[in-house]
């Protein structure tokens, strides 16, 4: 597990999931699984979030919403696709209204498999995301320093 220097906050958005993965994400927050022990807090505000957790695929209606949420999040940001639907479209891939996985719309860093994804694997995904976040953050800071120095 990556060494954590800060507590990344998490935003959950339900794309077009069947609720299966959705509910499992919520279950991660409750006493039995409790992701808060990793310093991860669930927030409802994209401006407060570092990690975006998306369940379900992208359809014509929610595409703009997902894009907007992603652009509202401050840099650096990490996206986790939870469940088969969010990874590829899953069982609904052939539906007329499904464009496919989340990566058809925004860049995805971590893919969590499963239909429904189990809370253990969701937590695993979140912990990995925290690692990715740390890396992105360090890169972001050093780039910024460089930019300041050259200007």
């Amino acid at each position: 597990m990556a060494k954590l220097n800060r507590s990344p906050w998490l935003l959950h958005y339900d794309g077009s999931s069947c609720n299966g993965c959705d509910i499992e994400v919520l279950a991660c927050l409750t006493p039995v699984y409790d992701v808060e022990r990793f310093g991860v807090v669930n927030t409802g505000n994209p401006l407060h979030a570092d990690i975006l957790l998306i369940t379900g695929g992208i359809n014509s209606q929610n595409q703009a919403v997902v894009q907007q949420i992603y652009s509202q999040m401050p840099n650096p940001k990490v996206v986790v696709a939870v469940g088969a639907c969010a990874c590829t479209g899953g069982i609904f891939k052939e539906c007329y209204n499904i464009h496919g996985g989340v990566d058809t719309t925004i860049p995805v860093d971590i893919y969590v498999p499963g239909c429904a994804a189990r809370p253990e694997s969701i937590i695993d995904g979140v912990v990995k995301a925290v690692g990715v976040f740390q890396e992105k953050y360090e890169k972001y800071v050093s780039e910024n320093k460089e930019r300041k120095r050259s200007s």
Partner: protein, 359 residues
């Protein structure tokens, strides 16, 4: 007249686990009208019948919604079984009933938790979900899945519950009764919960009937109607008495759902006593031909499955009318005249399930 403002609510909103969008027309703090717009979770899975055969559709039906997943699968299976004149073995029917009631338990506990979260009672939310995990454990032990089980098939069920496991389950459910009573006492008697729920979001009996409300929403307004009375699965052999309240406000809806928790425990006990032995599935040959309407009572109310088959392995049409869809007009009615601060709570009192509404 005060000036009117329109406040957009959703689709991404802290209190909603699922996306729904409402335009709230406000006069000061009072909602005069709520205009819903939906479609954020629409997948178009009914049309998948053209690509997947009628056996594969069982798994698609289960994924209409991950909360009532078992009931969706069962409703679809019973509809197809009816067309094909399949005689489902008694044990399969009882197992289905058991899993149905377990689904109702976990769904109502989930709702209680979300409700507590909506009015800011965080520890009550955690406690409800802690209880819910116990039921998920039993689901996992008996089916292998926590939320999506895939144990239904046309002609019966795929997994059996051995007698020792069933005995163990019944004992766990017995123990759960006391815990549930302690938990629900807070919902029913606590001062702050009462303050939030009482006299909020009235729906009269006439309104409930004319707007076509279903499930706890309907029963909380004093209408005694429960589709389990029609006796699908093994409900015909069991005693089901609908839980009804006549008050019609948010408190009544909470009361009805809590009553149903104990009703489910009672039904599970009855299932345990009467569980027959024998096979759990029969082989099914050929393709379905004909059409059928199947109704079943989900935690959120009456769901309708319409299936039309043409003798090939792909169905002509599958249509699902889900309970939340039927409850949206009633929800809009309760929102009219409410305070802005109560809106999240009122949306939650219908126990919205958007993914099944939009499919």
């Amino acid at each position: 007249m005060a000036k009117q403002t329109v406040v957009p609510f959703g689709p991404q909103h802290p209190v909603l686990p699922e996306p729904i969008h409402l335009d709230l027309v406000l006069e000061d703090e009072t909602v005069v009208e709520a205009v819903p717009s939906i479609g954020y979770v629409h997948r178009g899975l009914e049309k998948l019948v053209e690509k997947k055969d009628f056996n594969e559709m069982v798994y698609v039906a289960e994924r209409i919604c991950g909360i009532c997943s078992f009931m969706h699968g069962m409703g679809y299976c019973e509809a197809v079984e009816h067309i094909m004149h399949v005689d489902v073995p008694a044990r399969a029917k009882y197992l289905r009933t058991l899993w149905c009631e377990m689904s109702r338990l976990h769904s109502h506990l989930l709702w209680l938790g979300l409700l507590a979260d909506a009015f800011g009672f965080e520890s009550l939310f955690m406690q409800s979900w802690r209880m819910r995990e116990k039921i998920l454990d039993m689901f996992e032990a008996s089916t292998g899945g926590r939320v999506i089980f895939s144990v239904n098939r046309i002609g019966g069920v795929l997994k059996d519950i051995p007698p020792e496991m069933l005995r163990d389950f019944l004992k766990r459910f017995d123990d759960m009764g006391a815990d549930l009573r302690r938990l629900t006492r807070t919902f029913l008697d606590d001062y702050s919960v009462n303050e939030r729920l009482r006299d909020v979001g009235f729906l009269t009996k006439e309104q409930a009937l004319s707007l076509g409300a279903v499930g706890p929403m309907l029963r909380a307004s004093g209408v005694c109607y429960d589709v389990r009375k029609t006796g699908y699965a093994a409900y015909g052999d069991l005693e089901v008495e609908p839980v009804v309240s006549t008050i019609g406000d948010s408190y009544a809806r909470c009361q009805v759902r809590i009553g149903e928790l104990f009703q489910s425990l009672d039904l599970i006990r009855q299932v345990g006593e009467k569980m027959p032995t024998g096979p759990i599935a029969v082989p099914v040959k050929g393709n379905p031909e004909g059409e059928f309407f199947m109704r079943c009572e989900q935690p959120r109310g009456e769901a309708v499955y319409y299936v039309r088959a043409n003798g090939t392995k792909n169905l002509d049409r599958m249509r699902v009318r889900t309970p939340t869809f039927a409850n949206i007009p009633a929800m809009l009615q309760t929102l009219k005249g409410s305070q802005l601060a109560d809106v999240p709570l009122l949306i939650l009192t219908i126990d919205p399930c958007i993914s099944c509404t939009e499919r």
